[in-house]
């Protein structure tokens, strides 16, 4: 199962790298979002996908899963949610003001 997840993460990272390197603003934004998703999945997978025991069963439990990765990912997801919302607004404002979403034209000239 871990191998499959790692392959999925690899695909997500590939796609997001491709999207970040494109010229269209919206695609870059989507690429950045996907990079975040890939990173979150990686955090979940690398700490070992758990099966069987629930995380917390008191101190006498014979087996329990590690609940920390889920807590970390939850935090990271909330943060990336907020950042994504801000980024979308910023990208939209930039598009409105500059009247283009082509990053080549958003480059700026050398002398300014």
């Amino acid at each position: 199962m871990e191998i499959l997840m790692i392959l999925v993460i690899g695909v997500i990272f590939t796609v997001s790298t491709y999207l970040i390197l494109t010229k269209s603003l919206l695609r870059v934004v989507i690429g950045v979002i996907m990079l975040g998703h890939g990173a979150h999945l990686l955090l979940l997978t690398l700490s070992g996908l758990k099966q069987g025991a629930p995380p917390l069963l008191g101190e006498e439990a014979a087996a329990y899963a590690d609940p920390l990765p889920q807590a970390l990912i939850l935090t990271a997801i909330v943060i990336s949610f907020g950042v994504t919302a801000f980024l979308l607004v910023l990208a939209y404002r930039t598009y409105k003001v500059h009247k283009t979403d082509d990053l080549d034209q958003l480059r700026g000239s050398a002398d300014e």
Binding site: I20, L25, V28, V29, V32, L35, G36, G38, A39, H40, L42, L43, L46, S47, G48, L68, P69, L72, T75, A76, I79, S80, G82, V83, F86, L87, L90, A91, R93, T94, V97, H98, L106, G108, E112
Partner: protein, 495 residues
């Protein structure tokens, strides 16, 4: 009593939230935030004092014992950085009061200023790697808002790039955290250090070390990851550019120093003497070349941020107590002087209405107070004795020669000459030469009260230079403490 460790984080956070309630009442906002920053400076002075005399202070949040809960750790290095944050935070805030328009200040400027300080102090004080990520994000989100604040055409375009590159860096930060959790099974930095020492930092741990160098290097503007900095720091008003230029890159540098002295210090020949050394040289050299090629006050300063970052990393690369003390001295010097220079750029912009050096001239005649105090700051930056920039470079070069790292010493000295050259360029073009303002204009545009708010930073640069010996005695203790990770580990894990 250890509860004081959390105050530098808690105070700006709570006050920032309170300020949101007074969104319409600018006067109340100004008074509250002004008092808060002075209280914060008092707290950080007291924290630095007790850490110096009583040793490392730790606070286990929610009383969960380390390494299971999150700990806040105030050792000499972090209390020193918190103190620097307090000082530069006050000056930039009061400069902002004098120069920013009311419309700008009303747009939730002050709350986000305080949230930024919260994030920076949190990043300095935390002892948990994931918590460091969270405080990084607090800092970054506030910085996204401050850098685009005002929303001019130029700001929108360049801030977008700043935001995107930082989100990519944050994504890679999570990847690094994931790897290190997979390898060591812990996120407490002291505990990670113990586990990495047991594993002797081989194979995958070197990969993780470089990944963290990449993440923090993006924030700290290392070669070749600095390309976003000059343009995005040009956009925002000087009060913000001064704070960012002085403080934000240093958070990245602090994290690099922390991680590479506490956790990844087992393979010094590869990570420090090879990778970081090359990056230090390239960062210095290309940064200063960028500065030499520019003809704009703020842009020259932005490129100088990059070349100065190189000196700090050079201290880490040489990796002796004296070199690290030099690097830390350079961080303090750079936070004061670089912020001051950015604020001078703002003050000159207020007088001339431009930051283009070719459109300025003769300011020394019309505004001598501005001109001569700027001259002191510029000479401190270039490293003329007895000002502060000289002693950091002296310590770095001396330790480089002692360790027989001659290439980096040569690059450091050469970059010093070019720094002097570009500082003189600003002085000659802006302050000498033909007077571009008419006499009436020059009389109207008085700038004295603005310059007074910058003076504390210039004074600190002079004092640091004249009192270099006691400062170095303190910084050598700091660097000896961080070079022996067992100090940090023992006080966190209480073994």
């Amino acid at each position: 009593m250890n509860n004081i460790v959390i105050l530098p984080i808690l105070l700006p956070l709570i006050v920032g939230v309170v300020l949101l309630l007074f969104a319409k009442n600018l006067k109340v906002q100004r008074v509250i935030s002004g008092i808060t920053m002075f209280a914060l400076l008092g707290i950080s002075l007291y924290l630095a004092h007790i850490v110096y005399y009583e040793g490392i202070k730790t606070l286990e949040l929610g009383n969960w014992p380390a390494p299971f809960g999150i700990v806040l750790v105030a050792d000499l290095l972090s209390s020193f950085m918190v103190l620097l944050t307090g000082i530069v935070g006050i000056v930039c805030l009061y400069f902002g009061f004098k120069t920013l328009s009311e419309a700008r200040l009303k747009g939730y400027f002050l709350p986000f200023y305080l949230f930024l300080i919260t994030g920076v102090n949190g990043a300095f004080l935390t002892g948990d790697l994931f918590n460091l990520f969270v405080f990084f994000e607090v800092m970054l989100i506030s910085s996204y808002i401050l850098i685009v604040h005002g929303g001019t055409k130029y700001q929108l375009r360049e801030s977008l790039k700043y935001v995107i590159i930082n989100i990519v860096a944050s994504g890679l930060f999570i990847v690094g955290v994931a790897y290190i959790y997979a390898v060591t099974g812990t996120l407490n930095m002291a505990d990670i250090s113990v586990k990495v020492a047991e594993l002797e930092q081989q194979g995958v741990l070197n990969v993780i070390a470089i990944l963290f160098l990449l993440v923090f290097g993006m924030k700290g503007a290392l070669f070749p990851l600095y390309f976003w900095l000059p343009k995005s720091y040009f956009g925002p008003p000087s009060a913000i550019a001064g704070l960012f230029g002085g403080l934000l890159t240093k958070v990245g540098i602090y994290c690099i120093i922390r991680v590479f002295t506490l956790i990844f210090y087992h393979d010094v020949a590869f990570t420090h003497h090879t990778v970081i050394m090359i990056l230090a040289g390239a960062t210095m050299f290309f940064g200063v070349l960028g500065a030499v090629s520019q003809f704009d006050f703020k842009r020259i300063l932005s490129f100088h941020i990059i070349s100065q970052v190189g000196y700090m990393i050079m201290g880490l690369a040489i990796f002796t107590p004296l070199a690290l003390a030099g690097a830390l001295y350079h961080i303090a010097h750079n936070i004061f002087v670089k912020s001051a220079l950015f604020l001078y750029a703002g003050a000159t912009q207020k007088v001339t209405g431009t930051t283009d050096l070719k459109k300025m001239g003769g300011l020394l005649k019309t505004h001598p107070f501005l001109g001569w105090t700027f001259f002191v700051a510029a000479m401190a930056m270039a490293g003329i004795p007895p000002l502060s920039g000289f002693f950091s470079k002296f310590a770095l070069v001396l330790s480089g020669i002692q360790e027989e790292q001659y290439y980096i010493v040569f690059v450091g000295l050469f970059v010093g000459i070019l720094t002097l050259f570009s500082m003189m360029k600003i002085f000659i073009y802006a302050f000498w030469g033909e007077q571009k303002l008419t006499d009436e204009e020059a009389k109207e545009r008085k700038i004295g009260s603005v310059v007074v708010t910058i003076l504390p930073l210039v004074a600190l640069a002079v004092i640091m230079g004249l009192a270099a010996e006691p400062v170095f005695v303190y910084l050598l203790q700091v660097s000896e403490q961080i070079l022996d990770p067992s100090n940090y580990i023992n006080s966190v894990l209480k073994e």
